[in-house]
């Protein structure tokens, strides 16, 4: 009983983690299913046909590749812009700082339907043709805020004396940034970029407003839902998830090893 009480919190914590992964496990299991009807909802029979032929359904791989392209470009631009904003907000005092902070917070406090609807209202009023570019613009817009918040947290956790020391040693502001600030916040920037990529790649609500007839991976899934989502979609989603999970866990282990080595050598 005492054992159970002392471990109770840990057990609950693990159960919550399991809960987070239950639907993902369902998706992974269903990627090996040979569904009975059109709808891949209940288990029927083991099959590797989807995994053996990932692009076997018309349009699925085009939409997948399009989503990766958009996510890569959007993440790159949003990460550069977002990191610059985070630097300005954490390291500088200037007039309008409060307003800039609110401008960053507001897109996160706006429901995605409203973001999507308002962008489409603008696009329609300007008579912009909907497609790749309008989706890209939207994705950069809604990822910037998340990147600012993530990089800001990292910058705030950094010891400002390191930068002051560099400047005392006559480093120019650019040199201070290049050789002190940037290497120290790089893990934070990479983490933020990874989150940005995930948000962009998986976005449906805003993309659905901004896309016109262009089909990204989530839009493909939504469109297919009415007549049954092909098993290939489950396999591709499982693949992305597995790659991201393995990548981040390995990255985590490598960086903690390096930190331990640094701690041991100093």
């Amino acid at each position: 009983m005492a054992w159970l009480r002392s471990k109770l919190l840990g057990i609950v914590a693990v159960l919550v983690l399991v809960y987070l992964f239950v639907p993902i496990a369902v998706v992974a299991v269903l990627s090996f299913n040979d569904p009975e009807g059109k709808f891949n909802i209940s288990w029927n029979e083991f099959s590797l046909s989807a995994w053996g032929n990932l692009c076997g359904v018309a349009g699925v791989c085009q939409s997948f590749i399009l989503s990766i392209e958009i996510a890569l470009i959007a993440t790159l631009i949003a990460t550069v812009f977002g990191t610059m904003i985070a630097l300005a907000l954490v390291r500088y005092r200037f007039r309008g700082r409060g307003a800039a902070n609110s401008l960053i917070f507001l897109p996160m406090a706006t429901p995605e339907v409203v973001l999507g609807a308002s962008l489409l209202a603008l696009y329609l009023n300007l008579r912009l043709p909907l497609g790749f570019w309008t989706i890209l613009i939207a994705h950069i817009m809604f990822t910037i805020s998340f990147i600012v918040v993530a990089v800001k947290a990292r910058l705030q956790g950094m010891d400002p004396r390191l930068e002051e020391a560099a400047q005392d040693l006559y480093a120019s502001p650019w040199q201070t940034f290049r050789f002190v600030t940037f290497p120290l916040v790089l893990p934070g920037i990479l983490g933020a970029a990874l989150l940005g990529f995930a948000l962009s790649f998986d976005d449906f609500i805003i993309s659905n407003f901004a896309s016109g007839t262009t089909v990204t991976f989530p839009i493909f899934i939504w469109g297919a839902a009415q007549r049954g989502i092909p098993v290939q979609v489950y396999a591709l989603a499982t693949l992305v998830f597995a790659l991201a999970l393995v990548g981040t866990v390995v990255g985590q282990i490598v960086s903690s090893r390096r930190r331990r080595k640094l701690a041991a050598s100093s």
């Binding site: 983690l17 960053i104 996160m108």
Partner: protein
């Protein structure tokens, strides 16, 4: 040092800050603020009689119509999102507490696992609840055997929609809670028990108040997207469970009733702003992110 020499670098530093802000802030101004203004004018447009075509005007009646036609959708969105937010807080708190204060060397790995669901498709994860909550699934059968389900099923009821909302936005609750709990000095909690406070009293008087910034940020980051969501209602609910997001989406994309959809969006934004302001006042914290 003369005053001029001190002011010079300060001015230059401010100029660097503005240059750093410029591209990102300009992007948000053009593609976030201007669209909102554009949406506001669209919400006042006048119908020309033919579908999908509207002309500029100041037709405030769009708002009256939006409210009278869709007030139930608003109510449902606020109630579902409210319940989902409370549930998410109850589920997320123990995990965030464990990661921040007890996990030791497992902390980094557990944080990765909390963010990991972002890499699995949102739509497929929501769709997976159709399998988990199906009429012949274990959960539904068990609850039915205990006579706990008013409709005899979960799927296509409001319970499924709330369950989906709770699940989908959980990481947005866990992360800010973790960030706040991580800042607490564990010695403060130890001091509580040293002073003979029961674990419950220590939690109520020390841990909970100190974690308040995380509670506020987490509940907002859960409530706001949940209140505007339409995917959970569309995939897991019946036609009687539709939320305001569904109304905005169908009016904009299917009916092409842009003024109506825009008015609905603005009413949603306004109600969220009011709720958030009142909530932040009552929770007594200014710091959000």
């Amino acid at each position: 040092m003369t005053i001029a020499a001190a002011v010079g670098p300060a001015r230059r530093r401010a100029r660097i800050a503005y240059l750093l802000l410029l591209p990102g802030v300009a992007w948000l101004a053009i593609f976030f603020i201007i669209p909102l203004i554009s949406l506001f004018f669209t919400s006042l447009q006048v119908s020309t009689g033919s579908s999908g075509k509207y002309k500029a005007g100041f037709n405030w009646r769009n708002y009256v119509e939006a409210l009278s036609e869709y007030w139930e959708f608003f109510l449902r969105a606020l109630i579902y999102a409210g319940i989902a937010t409370v549930l998410a807080l109850v589920i997320a708190y123990p995990l965030a507490y464990f990661i921040a204060l007890k996990a030791g060397r497992w902390r980094a790995l557990m944080l990765v696992l909390v963010v990991a669901p972002f890499f699995a498709s949102f739509l497929l994860r929501t769709y997976a609840w159709k399998t988990i909550l199906a009429d012949d699934a274990v959960i539904t059968q068990t609850l039915n055997a205990l006579h706990l389900l008013p409709d005899g099923r979960i799927l296509n009821t409001s319970i499924a929609v709330i369950a989906g909302l709770t699940y989908n936005f959980l990481p947005f609750m866990i992360l800010p809670l973790y960030a706040a709990l991580d800042k607490i000095d564990p010695r403060l909690i130890e001091a509580g028990s040293d002073l003979y406070a029961s674990p419950f009293t220590t939690f109520r008087k020390v841990t909970w108040p100190l974690s308040m910034p995380g509670v506020v940020a987490g509940t907002l980051l859960t409530f706001i997207p949940a209140a505007g969501d339409y995917i959970n209602a569309e995939l897991l609910g019946s036609t009687k469970d539709k939320m305001i997001g569904n109304a905005i989406q169908t009016n904009f994309i299917e009916f092409r009733d842009y003024p109506m959809a825009s008015a609905l969006s603005f009413i949603l934004m306004a109600s969220i702003l009011i709720i958030v302001t009142v909530y932040i006042r009552r929770a007594g914290t200014e710091e959000l992110v």
